[in-house]
């Protein structure tokens, strides 16, 4: 087990290194000096002395690898730089918006489980039936429809044609819990349905695998009802591989949040990132890219380790 954990950790460290280089390189792809270009509005660029001062301030005169190491060491110490757009500390901006996006993800995960697990289970139990075909075709639909279009259709149907939900907007939970939840229903549903398809597929294949095993035959042979065989014996082990889906769907949920938060005007991380992308606010973009990837990496690492504990066969392979 110690060997398994250390190999996983080594891989994770290598990935983090590649990630850091990549994120740094992306910010430098912008033609000319990204920082100077972004500051052109606020600083007198015709004055060479001012330009020189800004260059020195941001370390743009140093060799590129020094710039990289400096940026990295500051980032690790929690100094994520100052937003070019707002002049605010990037870390503060990030932490302020994090709860909003996490709330969105929490509701989205609930939708995803509420739809994906029953769909996958039914599909597995009625394997090769018409219902199975319809449900599995439905999961393809889930990955084919752009989330931003699904959002617009739902807004049209449930906020404009039938005004049940607010078309957009966000109310902080502490201000008005009821309005907060009502405003979150549509956006989280859109995000949730998108990962529900993937979840349903995993649950289906996993249940099919489990249901063919000896202990299920034993459970049936000793006279348990089909209902308790499925719910008590088959579903529990079948849900273990489903942990993987959460590792996978975090990334796509975050990408989805970019669109959903724009469309529903939710002041979360997604909207902050899109704004940053348009303003070429690279300290903010770099922080988001790293935070997002680290998050996925950690979730995947946790999933890997959990697997190692739950299933001894994994440790050897």
């Amino acid at each position: 087990m110690a060997r398994y954990i250390s190999i996983r950790l080594l891989h994770a460290t290598m990935i983090v290194m590649i990630l850091a280089v990549l994120v740094f390189v992306i910010a430098r792809l912008i033609p000319g000096d990204s920082i100077l270009a972004a500051m052109a509005g606020s600083v007198d660029m015709s004055n060479p002395a001012v330009v020189e001062k800004v260059r020195a301030e941001y370390g743009l005169n140093d060799p590129i690898y020094i710039q990289f190491l400096q940026w990295l060491s500051k980032f690790v110490r929690g100094d994520w730089g100052v937003s070019i757009g707002t002049g605010e500390q990037v870390r503060d901006m990030f932490l302020r918006r994090l709860p909003v996006t996490l709330e969105l993800f929490l509701f989205a995960t609930i939708w995803s489980v509420a739809i994906g697990v029953p769909a996958g289970l039914i599909s597995a139990l009625r394997r090769q039936s018409k219902l199975d075909f319809v449900l599995m075709t439905g999961t393809i639909l889930g990955v084919s429809i752009p989330s931003f279009w699904e959002a617009i259709v739902l807004i049209y149907l449930l906020a404009i044609a039938l005004p049940i939900f607010p078309p957009s907007g966000y109310v902080p939970f502490l201000e008005n819990p009821q309005q907060n939840i009502v405003a979150m229903i549509l956006p989280s549903f859109v995000l949730g349905t998108h990962s529900a398809g993937l979840l349903a597929r995993y649950v289906r294949s996993s249940v099919i695998e489990v249901i063919g095993q000896d202990f299920i035959r034993t459970a049936r042979a000793k006279g348990l009802s089909e209902r308790s065989v499925v719910l008590l014996h088959a579903l529990k082990p079948a849900l273990i591989p489903v942990v993987t889906v959460f590792g996978l769907s975090w990334g796509s949920m975050l990408a989805g949040a970019f669109f959903i938060e724009i469309i529903f005007a939710i002041p979360g991380l997604g909207r902050m990132s899109v704004d940053a992308i348009f303003q070429k606010d690279f300290p903010v973009i770099q922080a988001t890219l790293i935070a997002v990837s680290l998050n996925i990496l950690l979730v995947n690492l946790a999933v890997d380790l959990l697997y190692g504990i739950l299933d001894p066969r994994v440790r050897i392979g």
Binding site: P31, I152, Y156, L198, Y202, S205, S252, I285, L289, S293
Partner: protein
């Protein structure tokens, strides 16, 4: 964005790849439906200049946001341009971008998978670790950041997609190569002294084609989604060029007045991506029934 994963336990096809594919498509309902959608949309895109009722750039400022009429079947946009014409021309942009993105991603991914699988050893470990690293990054977010850094425009979307979208190809090809390389005819080629690269090109690649075609189909779908997403946010296609994602975004502003303006482009995107996903998924099931409905 869907991850592409073809489990490579697939049996080695006998007969030519094309015969195998044709019979697979015939056998699978989903794949046939997908193919019909893809072919019809491609025809519409190709014939757009001939069948389009209007020029997609002609503005009629007396008929702005008209909604469906006998003259403009789907209505007009905020500048009085015919929506149907813009959707037909948008098909060209979407399909072209989808194909180019996939082409470049395949050009990076296939050689990497081939080298990792065929040469093996340290080379394999290093290349696969790099692939794992890229799989950790949510592609859409990185593509957005990179197209933002490089500036708006389709060329940069395609470039960014290639940089972050090749991992699926690398993994599929590697898996398939690991299967093929131990077969007797490859051994025979090695024994008779055929050079390594010639073996890869002439003997290994042709035997990995079927799963590659499945991956191509699914990747085109993903690329079209990414392009429409990037254009929706305003970084992809620049005006006045028609693109489904762009139309959707502009149409969203007028959702209460003319819902078709944003709903119709979404139908086109969904239908196209659905076509490619049906084709890819169906083909994979038909090539290996054991994987039916397995994780994608």
């Amino acid at each position: 964005m869907a991850t592409i994963e073809i489990v490579s336990r697939q049996r080695i096809p006998s007969g030519s790849t094309i015969t195998l594919l044709a019979s697979s498509v015939r056998r699978n309902r989903l794949a046939s439906v997908g193919l019909v959608i893809i072919v019809s949309l491609s025809l519409l895109a190709l014939l757009a200049p001939l069948i389009s009722p209007f020029d997609p750039y002609d503005q009629d400022l007396y008929a702005v946001l008209s909604g469906p009429t006998w003259q403009h079947w789907l209505g007009t946009d905020n500048l009085g341009r015919d929506l149907l014409a813009r959707l037909l021309y948008g098909a060209r942009v979407s399909l072209m971008t989808g194909l180019l993105c996939t082409l470049f991603a395949a050009m990076i991914g296939i050689p990497i998978g081939l080298i990792a699988g065929y040469i093996g050893g340290v080379m394999d470990s290093v290349l696969m670790r790099i692939t794992d690293a890229f799989l950790c990054f949510p592609p859409l977010i990185f593509i957005l950041a990179m197209s933002a850094a490089l500036g708006p425009g389709l060329k940069n979307v395609i470039l960014s997609f290639a940089v972050f979208g090749w991992t699926g190809f690398a993994r599929i090809v590697r898996g398939q190569v690991l299967l093929v390389r131990e077969l007797p005819f490859i051994e025979a080629a090695r024994a008779t002294g055929v050079p390594k690269f010639r073996i890869m090109w002439r003997h290994v690649i042709p035997n990995t084609l079927a799963p590659i075609i499945v991956a191509v189909s699914i990747t085109v779908g993903v690329a079209i989604l990414v392009e429409s997403g990037v254009s929706f946010l305003g970084l992809g296609v620049q005006p006045p060029t028609a693109s489904w994602g762009k139309e959707l975004r502009v149409g969203f502003t007028y959702l209460e007045v003319v819902p078709l303006f944003s709903l119709a482009p979404g139908v086109m995107i969904s239908l196209t991506v659905l076509g490619f996903n049906f084709f890819g998924d169906g083909l994979r099931d038909a090539l290996d029934p054991r994987l039916k409905g397995f994780d994608r």
